[in-house]
């Protein structure tokens, strides 16, 4: 409470500087959470490693988000099953795409180890996790890679939508090709899914236009 001075706007007593600062910090918290449509601040239980984060951000050079309340999301894979025999893996992603938003761009970033000889042929399928589709697989994309290092593999955004649970499972199956024939020997591990080279999804979402769903139903 200021001594005798009067707040010019509301005629009440001005706040002492410390009290005003405390009020401003509370206001900032409310404003940020409201702006991000969060009810409270996220509690991060498994933050990505700084190296993985830096690498992913550098790779994307996150541009300015598309206008119209768009968002860009980087989601790192949790490796739930990497078969030792071949370079196949099951990648699990935990997404929190708000229902009011629409996914329109998706790329899977994979790191291919330098041990690659020849052409790596990769099929990416999605595992259904909804009750009626549990265990079913939908082929999303096929890619061929001939060089080691990072590869950004475009996925059909329509194939990734509609996961109420927020858990997305992608199955990778790869084979080595030499010429046009498939190499029979079991390929050694070719995909790098270690901590710092974890695969990640790059997604772009934006708010749905009001009434978009109605048009489709009609």
């Amino acid at each position: 409470q200021g001594t005798g001075s009067v707040c010019p706007s509301c005629g009440g007593p001005t706040l002492a500087p410390q009290a005003e600062r405390a009020l401003v910090l509370e206001l900032a918290k409310q404003q940020i959470l409201e702006g991000l449509r969060l009810t409270n601040r996220p509690r991060i239980t498994h933050p990505p490693s700084q190296a993985a984060l830096t690498r992913a951000l550098r790779r994307l050079q996150l541009g300015s988000v598309a206008a119209g309340n768009g968002e860009e999301v980087i989601s790192f894979a949790a490796i739930t099953d990497s078969s030792t025999s071949t370079c196949s893996s099951m990648l699990t992603f935990h997404l929190s795409t708000p229902r009011s938003h629409h996914l329109y761009h998706a790329r899977l970033w994979l790191h291919v180890l330098p041990t690659l000889r020849g052409t790596l042929y990769l099929r990416i399928s999605r595992w259904g996790s909804r009750r009626r589709h549990r265990g079913s697989r939908t082929l999303l994309a096929e890619h061929q890679m001939t060089t080691p290092g990072w590869h950004a593999l475009t996925l059909p955004s329509s194939g990734l939508r509609g996961e109420e649970s927020g858990v997305l499972k992608l199955q990778l199956d790869c084979r080595l090709l030499e010429g046009n024939s498939t190499v029979t020997e079991k390929p050694r591990r070719l995909l790098d899914t270690a901590r710092h080279q974890r695969p990640f999804l790059e997604l772009k979402i934006r708010a749905k236009e009001p009434g978009a769903g109605r048009a489709r139903r009609r």
Binding site: P8, L25, Q31, I32, G35, I44, P48, E72
Partner: protein, 114 residues
């Protein structure tokens, strides 16, 4: 818009820089390190009512004079934001995903009298 100095009773913009470290939020907000939380405060006497607060055009200056000479003061006018810009945030959501988004109208750039 004038930034508020002590003793200035008229409508102005009060600037506060909030460092996310001070909120204890640097573990989930990756970029930027903080932002300007500005707000508008100050009185709007009748002759300032309707003035945009910045680059008041000649018309609004004359309009203000007319109002000042008017024996019936206009209804109360408030000191409100007249220009705001978005804030770009890069943060970790509760799944540990990195999200980049622009939060609209987050930073008050100018104040004026309604």
């Amino acid at each position: 818009t004038p930034t508020c100095e002590s003793g200035n009773p008229l409508c102005c913009r009060r600037d506060h820089y909030v460092d996310f470290q001070e909120l204890g939020w640097r573990d989930w907000i990756l970029q930027p390190e903080g932002y300007q939380l500005n707000y508008c405060s100050g009185q709007c006497p009748p002759h300032l009512a309707g003035s945009p607060g910045i680059a008041a055009s000649f018309h609004s200056a004359v309009f203000s004079l007319l109002k000042a000479n008017n024996p019936w003061p206009a209804s109360t006018s408030c000191c409100v934001p007249t220009a705001r810009r978005p804030l770009s945030l890069l943060y970790l959501d509760h799944n540990g995903n990195v999200v980049k988004t622009d939060v609209p109208d987050m930073v008050v750039e100018a104040c004026g009298c309604s």
